[in-house]
């Protein structure tokens, strides 16, 4: 210990003696939990990583659905591991306790960039798939208006626009996620849909027919999405299936897109057939399911705060209200250390300094516990 007079002097200079600055030793982290079934996750698994079953990983996120950075990480590590965190458990607890006969619960995840909102959605999706729910998953809703492949004028509505390629790809994503469950449930269409003079889907045909038609006929894909989601909504309300509607970056729905009509006018997100299809599941007029949304700043939207009222704007707020806001925040020190230990185990952190206490302290300090930032920093070492 330093002599008293020197301590006083150092404090006066704004310096802290090294002995006093040493951080308390965090508990040694057992970074993996053996519970790989999301239905059995509980408080005891908090802050630990679980490995998503390889088959589930392939089924749920084969086409798309994970953030680019996370899917790259899963490819590199040859496994997908998600951390069991409080926001996901909160959602799961509410879903377990929810009454299917009551209007669907609506959750809104918000929080800083890179905080783990999409990862939370992935965890809830995995739970829902394991529990036999049908999944309607829109990863990155801003894609439809900002990073789309092609838009064409809709045949049914002169104001609306269709996405021939993106909608077909989305239906492929839907099919990959739900094929097995749809075959078990054997849901049938309640209406007849006429696509052209020769093509029609009769009432009473399986819902998979709608999906197949959309995947193979891009021209009708957007209308297929509209019909499919209307059918699913009716089935869920009638109690024939449970339905999880997950939309990431839902705030994009109330923004302008970069798409233009032939007369040069700007297309709003609300003018897109696929977004109209999704919006009908955001309304509170159905039961037997749940809605899970996230918000994040999008191009052309408001900048600055990530808080719901600012990002959604008046229209979005009105459309989503009432919802359960759930904040997905940066990780705690213990969670960050768990993540670092996981990276070390997967050999992702190669620098010898990363295994030392000082290196871990530095990684926690530089990332501030933000999972995205931590992954970004660790990618170099």
């Amino acid at each position: 210990m330093l002599p008293r007079c020197r301590l006083t002097r150092l404090c006066w200079l704004g310096l802290r003696p090294m002995s006093a600055a040493a951080a308390p030793e965090p508990a040694p982290s057992v970074f993996r939990t053996s519970v790989s079934d999301p239905r059995e996750h509980s408080r005891s698994d908090l802050g630990r990583l679980y490995t998503v079953d390889r088959e589930d990983h392939r089924r749920l996120f084969q086409v798309t659905g994970l953030r680019k950075s996370l899917s790259a990480q899963a490819r590199t590590f040859c496994e997908l591991a998600l951390m069991v965190r409080q926001p996901a458990l909160n959602v799961l607890d509410s879903l377990r306790a929810s009454d299917p006969s009551r209007p669907s619960l609506r959750f809104l995840l918000y929080g800083p960039y890179g905080g783990g909102k999409s990862t939370t959605v992935a965890h809830v999706l995995h739970w829902a798939a394991a529990s036999g729910w049908l999944l309607v998953h829109f990863p990155e809703a801003d894609r439809w208006g900002l990073r789309f492949r092609e838009v064409t004028a809709s045949a049914s509505d002169p104001q609306a626009v269709d996405h021939p390629v993106d909608a077909a790809l989305w239906l492929a994503h839907f099919r990959a996620q739900n094929a097995a469950r749809l075959a078990e449930l054997d849901l049938r269409t309640g209406e007849t849909y006429t696509w052209s003079r020769r093509e029609a889907t009769e009432a009473g045909s399986p819902l998979t027919d709608l999906v197949e038609l959309g995947v193979t006929r891009g021209k009708h894909a957007s209308q297929c999405v509209l019909a499919l989601l209307a059918e699913l909504k009716a089935h869920a309300s009638a109690g024939r299936c449970r339905l999880l509607m997950a939309v990431e970056k839902v705030n994009a729905f109330w923004c302008d897109s970069t798409a233009r009509r032939e007369d040069g006018s700007t297309v709003k997100f609300g003018d897109m057939t696929v977004i109209r299809a999704a919006e009908q599941l955001l309304r509170p007029d159905w039961s037997g399911g749940a809605v899970l949304t996230t918000i994040a700043p999008v191009r052309g939207g408001p900048e600055g705060s990530h808080l719901p009222r600012h990002q959604l704007g008046a229209d979005g707020w009105r459309a989503l209200e009432p919802f359960v806001p759930i904040r997905v925040d940066d990780m705690s020190r213990a969670e960050t250390y768990t993540m670092i230990d996981y990276f070390l185990e997967r050999r992702w952190l190669q620098a010898p300094a990363a295994a030392t206490e000082r290196g871990k302290q530095e990684l926690f300090f530089r990332s501030g516990g933000n999972p995205g930032k931590l992954a970004e920093i660790c990618s170099m070492y």
Binding site: L2, R6, R9, L15, R347, A353, T356, S379, M380
Partner: protein
Amino acid sequence: MDCRYHSAPDWDGSGSQPPPVTMLRSLRCLCRLQPTIGHVRTMSQYPPTFREPTLPPEQTDEAREQLTFSPIKAAPSDLTSSAFDHPAVKKFTNIIMKGGDKNLAQILMAKTFERIKRTQIQRLHATRDAASEGTPDQDEEPVCDPLQVFLKALENSKPRLQLVPIIRGGITYQGRVVRLKQELHRQCEANRAYAHYTYG
């Protein structure tokens, strides 16, 4: 002017040797004659009383005791206490920098390292999965540390040198010659007859 400042004080225990006595003596003579050029380091913006800045891990209690009331030179902008710092990477970042855009240079370095690591680690896990039974052979593991790959690449890109005896004024010196270059020139000489095929 007091000449003891001409040698760097060994206050930080780095073990830097003071200049030999003869050199000090000659400097002292120099000072007496021309006091204005007394400093060994000319053009320094700091008087010799200023200390070099140090980093937290080197700051022992004694060192801090000495530093508390002494003026300290401004720290260089790239001085860091990071546990992940490496001088070769830092130097290379400065070399690839264009137009003073260091941020871009650092991003490029980071992305390069990430790519190297991603490729190697994917390979590592793939081979492990393929031979999931038994521990993998340590010798056959790919080098995953991007820093080691980088340093090895740097080493490989250096020209090869060899010593050749050169006689100058009756004395044989061991001169350094770039070997590859010499061999290349020898080959070129041998194939000079076919030079006209170059543009044909």
